[in-house]
């Protein structure tokens, strides 16, 4: 298999995986809709402010990724950009955890006697998104190390490109989840 074909295969594998992940979250959201419509004791609550901040952070991280290709074209180091995205990803994760802390302070729990199914859904949706994001952080770590070693060039940066696609997907997914939780 030549390199161009191999790269295309890998990209397709990623895109199809993203379709599978989308189905996972789509089913979660449809479960949310069904339960909200059915359940009499559905508890409404205010979404933590931290989630607003985390939304801004993850969008910013995706925007930073867009600067990488032009840098590669100029044959300049991209380490600082990749590292910035990695740091923003870590900040996003921290803000998510702070958001959960804010929720528990409001009396919204994942489980237990005082929990409500609405809160449980919120925790599960954000938790599963965060678990997927951990995969992205691992990819960014590897990309950061490789970019520090100047292993990427405009003709050879597939690993980084795949990580970037996955990261953009996680950003879009989070924005959808956030909008859904905020406005539905």
């Amino acid at each position: 298999m030549d390199i161009a074909l191999r790269n295309m295969v890998k990209k397709q594998l990623l895109w199809i995986s993203l379709a599978a992940i989308s189905m996972f979250f789509a089913s979660m959201l449809s479960a949310f809709i069904v339960e909200k419509a059915d359940v009499g004791n559905w508890k409404e609550f205010i979404l933590p402010n931290y989630f607003v901040f985390s939304t801004g952070v993850i969008i910013l991280s995706s925007l930073v990724l867009f600067f990488i290709k032009p840098q590669l074209k100029k044959d300049k180091s991209i380490f600082s950009l990749v590292f910035t995205v990695l740091i923003l990803g870590i900040i996003f994760s921290y803000l998510q955890i702070k958001g959960w802390q804010q929720l528990t302070n409001q009396g919204i729990y994942l489980t237990g006697v005082g929990s409500n199914i609405s809160g449980s859904f919120l925790y599960i949706l954000t938790l599963t998104h965060l678990l997927h994001l951990v995969g992205g952080l691992v990819g960014l770590c590897i990309s950061a190390i490789k970019s520090k070693q100047n292993l990427y060039s405009i003709n050879n940066y597939l690993g980084l490109e795949l990580t970037a696609i996955y990261w953009h997907f996680l950003t879009v997914l989070w924005v959808i989840l956030f909008a859904f939780l905020k406005f539905y």
Partner: protein, 583 residues
């Protein structure tokens, strides 16, 4: 990878990355699980024929599964039914069928050296293998395996204290099925990208054999529906282990009032059947793909309506995503919604009828060779028709309600899904055995196997429709407590007789299979005089499939008995003659 390379025992037979070996691994594991599942069904059929009595078959079970009189315990009867369903649906007819033939046929029929990722392919099998070990280990836990039915509906599956089978056995079931889904997704991803990218020169999508089309669409179905089962299972794990209430509400168990509030077991059904119905076609479509190939080859005729066959596969796949509600007519569904699901369900009859018509039209006036593979292929069409007809009844909410959870349903799905798919699988094994092992299976044993299986299978499942119409409920340990069913006990005994006879007949197949691997007549390169690319590979199987350059495709896969041709088949690699029009 382009050339054959030396392999040691470990890399060739165990952690192999050769698609052909992985296919055989799937096949052998699937066959082993089929034997396990079949023995389970033999045991619970014996219980139904002779409720509470002992049997020699019970010696296969741990003594703790039996009561003092040597009869089968009711909770273990439910465990056997649950495990039988799980094993047959997922392990045999999903992984055993799709895993075997997708792995074996995709690279060979599209002209590729191997799958796009041999490593992912290997992982796919090993996830499946570990899932198998975990599932079987649940047979040996004190409280027994999962026993709430293969559909694992909550609350039985969500509350570990509900019944014995809700405990460790259920936990192992969930771990096992998660591993299974991961393996299936890895396999499915690989199948799709391989078909889209690695087709050899000239192998356009319009020239793909229908087996490959069916396997491609099956893989897409799996990739889109299995994640839904994962999310469904994740919520269940949270309910079981962490005290959430997604599927639970207002439960009192053993006098204890549980805190769970607001959840709904119906939500589980929605999520489960969103996978569950596409799963029917994940099982069925590969069988239909195999049948298309086998019928065309052995009728010595082009498949009738190639484009319509592809269109029907696509339409069935699409419709399978919007019919799940027909499994839930009894859940208090809004009657209007029920009618919508009835409508979408009955729509599936259209592409199904197209396929059946095209199979019959392919057979019509063909120069038919009744090989064992051909008999099983025709058997698939037969079961698809018989089971499909009762599907029309069950797809209609007004009719379904009357026979819901009776043996009518058991008879229906065993014929339309179980028999169709297993016949397709047998057809595939008989047809491609020479390519898998370089030897032929014994034809006469194949005929005995087919007729024995065909007669016994109908002997088992056809009478079940009458039991169901008489109101006999499924999943009951014994029906002797209900005088209204006394008159049905003879039919139950008859079904058990055929079930046991059918199980014995499978021993003939197993003997034929393993004997032929070592002692069968050596196969020629193209024993069925078939057109597709796999028959251009050498009899000695090599990693990389073709020793030199990859074949170049010049025509479609179904040029049989073409007027003006010297023989009644033309390999896909044969160039078109001057003035010859491609089909």
């Amino acid at each position: 990878m382009s050339e054959h390379h030396k392999e040691n025992f470990i890399t060739k037979y165990i952690f192999s990355m050769d698609h052909k070996m992985i296919a055989k691994q799937f096949l052998l594991t699937g066959m082993f699980m089929a034997v396990v599942g079949m023995l389970m069904s033999a045991i619970f059929r014996v219980q139904l024929a002779n409720p509470g009595e002992t049997s020699i078959l019970y010696n296969l079970l741990p003594s703790t599964w039996l009561n003092d009189a040597g009869g089968l315990n009711p909770d273990k009867y439910l465990a056997l039914v649950t495990m039988h369903g799980t094993i047959l649906v997922f392990w045999v007819l999903t992984a055993g069928l799709s895993g075997t033939f997708a792995n074996f046929l995709i690279p060979l029929q599209i002209g590729a050296r191997d799958m796009a990722s041999g490593f992912l392919n290997m992982l796919s099998y090993w996830f499946f293998f570990i899932a198998t070990v975990v599932l079987l280990s649940s047979l040996f836990v004190e409280s027994g395996p999962a026993s709430g039915g293969w559909t694992i509906y909550p609350p039985l599956s969500a509350l570990p204290q509900a019944i014995p089978g809700s405990g460790t056995g259920m936990t192992l079931w969930l771990i096992s099925i998660t591993l299974f889904v991961v393996g299936s997704l890895l396999g499915g991803l690989n199948y799709i990208v391989t078909i889209l990218n690695l087709r050899t020169i000239g192998m356009t999508m319009q020239r793909l054999p229908l087996t490959v089309w069916a396997l491609l669409i099956t893989a897409i179905l799996g990739v889109l529906s299995f994640p839904v089962l994962l999310s469904c299972g994740l919520l269940l794990v949270f309910d079981r282990s962490f005290g959430t209430s997604f599927y639970l509400s207002d439960i009192i168990i053993n006098g204890e009032v549980l805190h769970n509030e607001g959840g709904s077991p119906i939500l589980f059904e929605h999520l489960f059947w969103f996978l569950g119905h596409p799963e029917v076609y994940i099982i069925l479509l590969p069988a239909l793909g195999i049948v298309s190939e086998v019928i065309s080859v052995n009728s010595r005729k082009p498949i009738f309506g190639y484009k319509a066959m592809v269109g029907a596969l696509l339409l069935i796949a699409f419709l399978s995503f919007i019919v799940w509600g027909h499994h839930m007519f009894m859940t208090g569904m809004n009657p209007f919604l029920g009618s919508v699901f009835t409508f979408t369900t009955l729509l599936i009859a259209i592409p199904s009828a197209v396929k059946v018509f095209n199979y019959l039209a392919t057979l019509w006036r063909g120069n038919i060779r009744f090989t064992p593979a051909m008999l099983f292929a025709i058997g698939t069409v037969s079961a698809f028709i018989t089971g499909g007809l009762t599907g029309i009844i069950l797809g209609d909410s007004a009719l379904d309600i009357n026979v819901h959870d009776t043996y009518f349903v058991v008879g229906h799905f065993h014929i339309v899904m179980g028999l169709s798919a297993i016949y397709g699988m047998f057809a595939g094994v008989y047809h491609w055995f020479p390519k898998m092992y370089g030897r032929m299976m014994n034809k006469n044993l194949g005929y005995i196997h087919f007729w024995g299986t065909f007669i016994c299978a109908y002997g088992v499942f056809f009478p079940m429709h009458f039991l169901g119409l008489a109101g006999l409920p499924r999943r009951y340990y014994s029906n002797s407590a209900f005088p209204m069913f006394d008159g049905l006990s003879d039919i139950n005994s008859l079904i058990t007789f055929f079930a046991l006879a059918g199980a014995i007949v499978q021993a003939i197949f197993l003997f034929n299979f393993f004997y032929s691997i070592f002692k069968g007549t050596k196969a020629s390169q193209n024993p069925w005089k078939s057109n597709t690319l796999e028959w251009t590979t050498p009899v000695e199987r090599i990693h990389g499939n073709w020793p030199g350059e990859l074949p170049v495709v010049k025509r479609w896969a179904y040029d049989y008995s073409k007027p003006g041709a010297e023989e009644d088949f033309i390999l896909q690699t044969e160039p078109l003659k001057d003035g010859e029009i491609e089909h």
